[in-house]
Symmetry: C2
């Protein structure tokens, strides 16, 4: 792993547990309105709208807009599908910001602090800059910069998002390593010329639902970020 200058990270699922916090906040914001649903199923339904919404931008059918805006559009879809049209504007706005308050997996902050001594670090997420800033403050993530979709003005897995991130650090793709818990993200980064590291998040979508190993070739495979730091020091 010689010659790597920066690590860039997927965030939703790889660094933060979106499902637990979204289910919790949905209950907090909606149960006072006498709404009672399966809150984890609600979180999953919201997340299910994620790729289709971004595909509208990736395909060029919609101009680039921040993920916060897509999340809000997706929330309206989910509420309509559940017949919950009574949810008022203020509640929708507040609930949409739940994505800014997700908790990191326990190894993430200490792992990044260790990795930071040897590498430049940035998120390379589809989340917008303010969302990444809030997650960093909430979880103590020591980023050098916020890279990703808002800088590239397109969404992963389009190659430009990875390439713009590497270029922002003045690095060639081969000097940049993409870290993610999802094989499609890593496959796209590798196709763009980056090195790749898989991190296992086996409980991302609920107990024993996430990928335990990459289904595509990767340069490194780690149990968590502390393990990744060890592997990169070998």
């Amino acid at each position: 792993m010689n010659g790597i200058g920066a690590l860039i990270f997927d965030v939703f699922g790889t660094l933060v547990d979106w499902r637990t916090a979204i289910a919790r906040e949905a209950r907090q914001h909606l149960s006072p309105l006498a709404i009672d649903v399966d809150w984890h199923a609600f979180a999953d339904a919201w997340r299910d709208q994620y790729q289709p919404a971004m595909e509208e931008v990736r395909s060029g059918r919609l101009p680039f807009s921040k993920l916060d805006r897509l999340h809000r559009r997706n929330l309206d879809v989910v509420l309509a599908d559940l017949g919950l049209d009574q949810v008022d504007e203020a509640t929708r706005t507040a609930l949409n910001l739940a994505w800014h308050r997700l908790d990191a997996w326990p190894d993430v902050a200490p792992g990044l602090l260790e990795l930071r001594t040897s590498f430049r670090l940035a998120p390379c997420s589809n989340g917008n800059i303010s969302l990444m800033v809030d997650l960093a403050r909430h979880n103590g993530l020591p980023w050098d910069a916020i890279l990703g979709a808002e800088l590239a003005r397109d969404y992963k897995p389009k190659a430009i998002v990875y390439l713009v991130a590497a270029d922002a650090f003045d690095l060639a793709p081969t000097e940049t390593m993409m870290v993610a818990a999802h094989s499609p993200d890593l496959a796209a980064a590798a196709a763009a010329g980056l090195r790749t590291a898989f991190v296992a998040r086996p409980h991302e979508f609920g107990p024993n639902t996430g990928e335990t190993s990459a289904s595509v070739p990767v340069d490194l495979s780690a149990a968590d970020l502390l393990d990744l730091a060890r592997l990169l020091q070998e």
Copy 2:
């Protein structure tokens, strides 16, 4: 000063002393080649090429390119003007990176740490992202994000650079304060709708050469960043 969510900062001159380090590094890199000039005058000559080079981009005559590239073009101009064509490529490349190694004024790191408890913080500089990342690491600057020219793909004082920075934090221009030691920067930010704070850097271009007070209307005027933190708490 109610309703301000973020402070964005000019960097060259306002946060870092470019002239001392550029003069020192020019001497370090060029004197081994038997070159002897007035090193502070060399720094000033290099900096004199700064606005004309950016104007090529602002006017649309050149496509956006990172400041590192403009700095390198400007270095070649200065060396040619001085008849120093013998300076080799490796020396030019190394000297050009001197802009990544500038020292901050002494109040900057403690001032930003204090301001960070109440506001989101980012550079809004014409310097590129990697340059800002290196200055942050070198000087311990606790940025939330790196905003500025590379995100906006244009150069200050064009309004879009300030507006893109505010928008990245999900803030209206009036909720965002531009901090700078230069009246033209603050005048442009105010014209774009931002609040403004002047910080005095009286020795930027050598002893008693910088602005001691703003020549345009500003919302706040401070002696340094610690003073600014006090003023914003009032």
